[in-house]
Symmetry: D2
């Protein structure tokens, strides 16, 4: 998709970062943030909302962390590797927590199933980028 980060990042150089892994991670963060925000809203629309309060909270946590991570990665300049790594670790942790929570409701709610998958993909993309950063 040439309208996403792929198109804009391609117009400038990136020092020592695997560009494909980076773009994939930015895209995964955006998709996960959207899936989590939508899942949170779907959770409070369910009759069983009382049982979904933890799910809704981990959804919103994950959405916020994924959005912030996507923005940090867009500015990736390698200037402070330890901060970038810590942000990626936080994003992977938030995705893991939300993926686990949503997976436990996946049999009952389609939005949780979709969200769990987006969380797994984003967690994996963060781990791959962490590996790529060395």
């Amino acid at each position: 998709m040439m309208s996403g980060p792929d198109a804009v990042l391609s117009t400038r150089g990136l020092a020592g970062v695997d560009r494909d892994v980076l773009v994939q991670c930015i895209q995964a963060c955006a998709e996960c943030a959207q899936a989590c925000a939508a899942c949170a809203d779907a959770c409070v629309s369910e009759d069983t909302v009382v049982e979904l309060v933890t799910c809704f909270r981990t959804d919103l946590d994950c959405a916020d962390v994924c959005e912030a991570t996507g923005r940090v990665l867009t500015r990736l300049a390698g200037s402070d590797a330890s901060a970038t790594r810590a942000v990626l670790e936080a994003c992977a942790a938030a995705c893991k927590a939300c993926g686990n929570e949503c997976e436990s409701h996946a049999g009952m709610h389609g939005h949780c199933r979709v969200c769990a998958q987006a969380c797994r993909r984003c967690e994996q993309a963060c781990r791959q980028l962490l590996d790529s950063l060395g």
Copy 2:
């Protein structure tokens, strides 16, 4: 793309809103926010950054407003139509301002050309959704 808002929104009903127009607008907001954030960062990487300060500011304004709009639309319940309409008007205005600014540098900077296109698409998607809301 079944990992985006399309997949999650499809699992619940939406009162009186054209679902396709809504999903298209949420997607356009996400893509525009990404393009603007990337363009802002590319602007400050240019040797001519001094001439791109206004561009960089309208980029960040547009990114922030698009992100907030995408989130508001994800929760669209029709409960307060006037607030939703005002948010969509603000998003269209921010996209127009950023599209104009980036277009004026489009001949010189690829990131501005890509960003201007994303802004035009998002402005149009907001206008279509405004029409669809009646």
Copy 3:
């Protein structure tokens, strides 16, 4: 409070904007965003969460719009007055919607009472800044 926008904005000039009204509005946006985020979370903690779903949604809408507005105002350069005005109108509308919704639960929930007050203050601060922009 010299650690807020007051301290940093004071170190540079602002073209044609009433600085006090601007700082007050940025501060009101930050406080309203916090109150709304906390109220949303308190809503889903209530036994009567089913009756508070609309409140929770307007809370999150208002928090997102207030945060984006605060950021836009921090960059206020007067470069595109129409976009800034549209963002302030959207913020006032979101605050009004959330203030009304929270006020209707103010007798029952302390977090709604506090949130309604923050919304009223922020709506007023947006209107004052709009007047000040001429």
Copy 4:
């Protein structure tokens, strides 16, 4: 200040978290996010913007991470301690990076001096909350 997180959080219980340390951290995140956003904008207004590109990037990174952290903390339910801890570690790392960068320009730019102080306070508040979580 009874309009901030203090007022709303006080209306409900918090399982096993030192409430004062939590409120202080949420407040520090909000103030640091504002200082960073304002510093970033002041950086691009300087004649020497070319030398401040790294500062501007760490400012925006820190602002985004602080905002996300503040939101996550507002929902603190202790449900997933490892994700919360990772987010606090990321926030402390972003504040440290931005504090170091801004401090190196503190003699020349008032906005960097103010921002460095806000970063130090927020880093410390994150560390205190991490200690308090045990």
